[in-house]
Symmetry: C2
Subunit: 586 residues, 2 copies
């Protein structure tokens, strides 16, 4: 039933050869003793095993059953509870968490790959752990020692789960208008009251407790603060005591992701603890949100990978039509150019998307662990620049690939039986939640490029050019094409920067095209880097691997890179045509 396949060979190629993780880890004392390439390989194999054997088989049944809401409680589909317990016991929730509180301290470069293996098995299942790890990251970054001691061990061990409680009906993308209130109490805690919607994993039966990170306004203030609000109260020693005033009021019925509980949450004088400073809640929550944004990008990537694998396998088996060289005999549909086009689109976007994810993980590792202050500062800014791109670009491509893969199945793709249509429904949400992809693009163009005065991206492009110039292993016309993309992109961004003061709508109107252009440009770079690496290390790699990387790079530049220019033309069109239409005309 399950067609789960873990591309651990591709993952190891990226880790070991393309990004030379072992050398990176050696430079980072916190990682040097903790991880080596053999350990990384073993972790990936183990992740492939548990996701393939335990998690993937629950994907379809979870979609069929969905979560249930009964007696004020949410119940996950059959098998989820047991599987999650085993998953947590394997240490997967705390994989990249702080060793001091029970985490495994693994690098994010590896973490993103484990995340892909999880999402490509089961979107809904993997979310629960992702939210837990993100909540822990946020508490670790902004909570005081008491909060860390109280909550982190239970989160990293996976005995408890995390949730991110932000949205209210009137406050979705615009959080200024949240109305959940926090009343200061004599003991230093707060009493939280209000309600929220669209809370993923807001309630469920997988864990003994759920630790909510809740945005609320302290009584008398219009600023937004962040609170830890556990479902079950936790004493200072970290033991669960009695029910807190937090409960699910309903669950949503959705297009997909049906095994993930999307809850209306009610807070009725719930006990909460301030995280970080009062009125600085958004800044704190962004630590979790950025974690989840990368994770959701990887949801898109994992979905693309899973869908591609199913479609490629189907295309090799399904006989229909003939090879152009022999019209009399039926051939597998993979001989047809158009079927190949759909599959190669998926493949090239997925492989390059994985490289983007690992590259982003690398920046996060350098930002966290580097002892070189300049390197740390640059990596921090670069990770911030890349995060909205991984979220939006990988989820947009995730849906595109799922749809292309479904198309390969023909009529069989539309019926539930083959399972491919579930990937389309499940991954669709990834473009919406954790900030819509439009919001990501505005963050990217407005904050990460323009507000940065293009400093970080210019440094990045210099770094990319240097990397490619070092080598004669890549066809020069492809390097030239890549360099042109970088030059054109930077020129266009300078134009945006020059024009934006006189045009307050410009960034909003062209941001998505700017992000997409950048995404295709980065994929171009990663294809050249993969091709270059494979050629440089051809003595240790199978010949088919080296040839394959070159051919896929050629395909990428021939058939997908042309999208870059289209998006850039659209950026350069500016905002006038978009903004001048009267509202009444819509």
């Amino acid at each position: 039933m399950s067609s789960y396949h873990a591309p651990t060979d591709e993952m190891m190629f990226l880790l070991q050869q393309v990004f030379d993780a072992p050398s990176v880890w050696q430079t980072l004392p916190a990682l040097a003793d903790n991880i080596d390439i053999d350990t990384a390989a073993a972790i990936l194999e183990e992740a492939a095993k548990i996701n393939g054997e335990l998690v993937a088989p629950l994907n379809r049944t979870g979609d069929e059953q969905g979560v249930r809401f009964t007696g004020g409680q949410v119940f996950t589909p059959d098998g989820y509870r047991d599987a999650y317990r085993q998953y947590a016991e394997g240490g997967w929730v705390g994989l990249c968490g702080e060793p001091e509180f029970g985490g495994m301290g693994m690098p994010k470069m590896l973490g993103v790959l484990v995340d892909e293996l999880g999402y490509s098995a089961n979107n809904a299942f993997n979310l629960y752990g992702s939210l837990t790890a993100g909540a822990a990251l946020c508490i670790h970054a902004h909570g005081d020692d008491e909060l860390k001691q109280r909550f982190l061990p239970g989160l990293y061990s996976g005995e408890w789960a995390g949730a991110m409680d932000m949205t209210e009906p009137q406050a979705g993308s615009d959080l200024r208008y949240i109305s959940t209130k926090a009343e200061p109490q004599a003991d230093g805690s707060y009493s939280i009251s209000g309600s929220k919607i669209f809370i993923t994993g807001g309630d469920h039966d997988l864990t003994a407790n759920i630790i909510h990170l809740v945005l609320a306004k302290i009584a008398g203030s219009d600023g937004i603060s962040l609170f830890v609000v556990p479902k079950i109260k936790v004493d200072a020693a970290g033991n669960c005591t009695e029910a807190n005033g937090v409960s699910a009021g309903a669950i949503e019925h959705k297009m997909g992701l049906k095994a993930s509980a999307t809850c209306v949450m009610n807070y009725d004088n719930a006990e909460g603890f301030l995280v970080g400073r009062a009125n600085r809640g958004l800044v704190c929550m962004f630590t979790m949100m950025n974690y989840e944004r990368l994770s959701i990008g990887i949801q898109g990537l994992g979905s693309a990978q899973a869908a591609y694998r199913m479609a490629a396998d189907y295309a090799k088996e399904r006989l229909q039509g003939s090879d152009s060289s022999n019209a009399q005999q039926q051939a597998p549909i993979i001989v047809h150019g158009d079927v190949r086009r759909m599959l190669l689109n998926c493949r090239c976007l997925t492989d390059a998307g994985r490289a983007l994810a690992v590259f982003t993980g690398l920046q996060l590792d350098l930002a966290k662990y580097s002892q070189d202050e300049a390197q740390k500062a640059y990596a921090t800014k670069l990770a911030a620049l890349l995060t909205p791109v991984t979220k939006a670009f990988l989820t947009d491509r995730g849906l595109e690939c799922a749809i292309s893969a479904q198309q390969v199945f023909g009529g069989h793709g539309y019926i539930r039986e083959t399972g491919i249509e579930q990937w389309v429904r499940d991954t669709r949400i990834a473009q919406i939640y954790e900030g819509t992809n439009g919001i990501q693009a505005i963050d990217f163009l407005g904050r990460k490029l323009v507000a940065d005065r293009l400093v970080t991206i210019t440094e990045l492009f210099n770094q990319l050019s240097l990397q490619l110039a070092q080598s004669s292993d890549v066809p020069s016309h492809l390097i030239a094409q890549q360099q042109t993309m970088q030059d054109d992109f930077l020129a266009a961004m300078h134009e945006v920067m020059a024009a934006k003061d006189d045009d307050s709508n410009l960034i909003n109107a062209v941001a998505v095209d700017a992000l997409d252009a950048f995404g295709y440009l980065m994929c171009g770079y990663f294809w050249l880097l993969m091709q270059q690496t494979a050629k440089q290390q051809q003595s240790t790699l199978p010949e088919a691997w080296v040839t394959g990387k070159s051919q896929l790079a050629e395909y990428y530049f021939a058939r997908l890179a042309p999208r870059f220019a289209m998006h850039l033309v659209s950026v350069r069109a500016g905002s006038t045509a978009t903004m001048q239409v009267d509202i009444a005309a819509f």
Copy 2:
């Protein structure tokens, strides 16, 4: 609940002003007495009424309930049976059918618009009538007088329904391998045995009889023949008599379109009547298939229209974020450039898509009714060229628009409550059935362009250029941009034609990009034509209408037309990068 909106103003603008249907109809004797512009307007208003009041309210409940398969019979959701009876009694099934057999003889230019009104109310419901009209068209074109007398009145009146029975598990896109058999009987009929899958409307409870057009092989022959196989036998006088050996074996569970019955059909010595000549069944069936291809294109168009309308209405009401001119006050999200981008993409593609549908309808009317042989021959070829384009381009854009519209809803777009997600699920099938969009593209590029040696398309482009050159009402830079697209496209097609003899994979590998490029080029033409028409007739049109058409044309050329060049670059990349990858590497 239902947000149904009929854009009859846009439809009348196209009919009356852009394509000057009244003048066309005056030149066609068969239509001249049958239709005038007031009648057309009245028909559109009536179609808007019945679809808005009767059909649209069943869309959501039909999705929730789906069709049921019980006791070997298919039952449609509550309300469908009554609604279909009223719909049929209104004459809608036979709208463009032959008056001699009870049809209303209306032009296809009008028929495509009525079809859009139907699909934008309810994809699933409208299919039943569309298949019926297509079956009637096929029987009228290829059946003998006795078959016509026997079957057409029941089909045109809507008392009976039609179905198109082609696909078998081993024979989807590749019909050579069908195994359904037809044994000649002494009375001249055939005994049909076998089974088929994915038969839309194969069984249901809407009508007293279902007339199947079935592809089968006559015993001893490998050719494919076409048969009329009624669910209930019909005597020579047209009365239903006894059950024929045709039954549904199962229904499929699908991603969407749940109120449409997708059936496994079994034929057990069923009585069938040969349509047209033996072994020429595919040619005959193509009459129905081309009808359905256009109809399915309009399914995409109707879905885009419905989704756009919902999203535009939501964007005007939903407060979130602020206008860039006043950061303190919440504003409707339609002030945001990125929301406008999504909506304007939908709007521009939908309005131009509607023009493409009417233009195609015009060619079909000229092909059928013109008394000028040269005009008739050209229109016939042009309709054949446009049919795969309307099918593929309008359904690809239909899904794109439904997804963009869903994105405008943010998180509310993913939950079932708002209804927008159903449009995504329902319209997805339109890219697959009636020949996948890949198949359409190969038909377009291989048969309709290359095999035609570019004769028809060259004539079309000359006609378009002439139309635009006549006017100073369109900005000259847009006309130049349009002319460049046409020149580039034709040049690229000449390159394909020159290269295809040495590269048997070329057409298959680049067909989808060629079709898309052509689609965007045609939309460019239609936007200029609409802008031109509005300006030329500005004395009789509201000022906002004239302004609106110009602004939408500008938006189209600024933000959507750049896709043309991207697709053309991809065409010119040829097949090498696509074909050289080893199957084992996928």
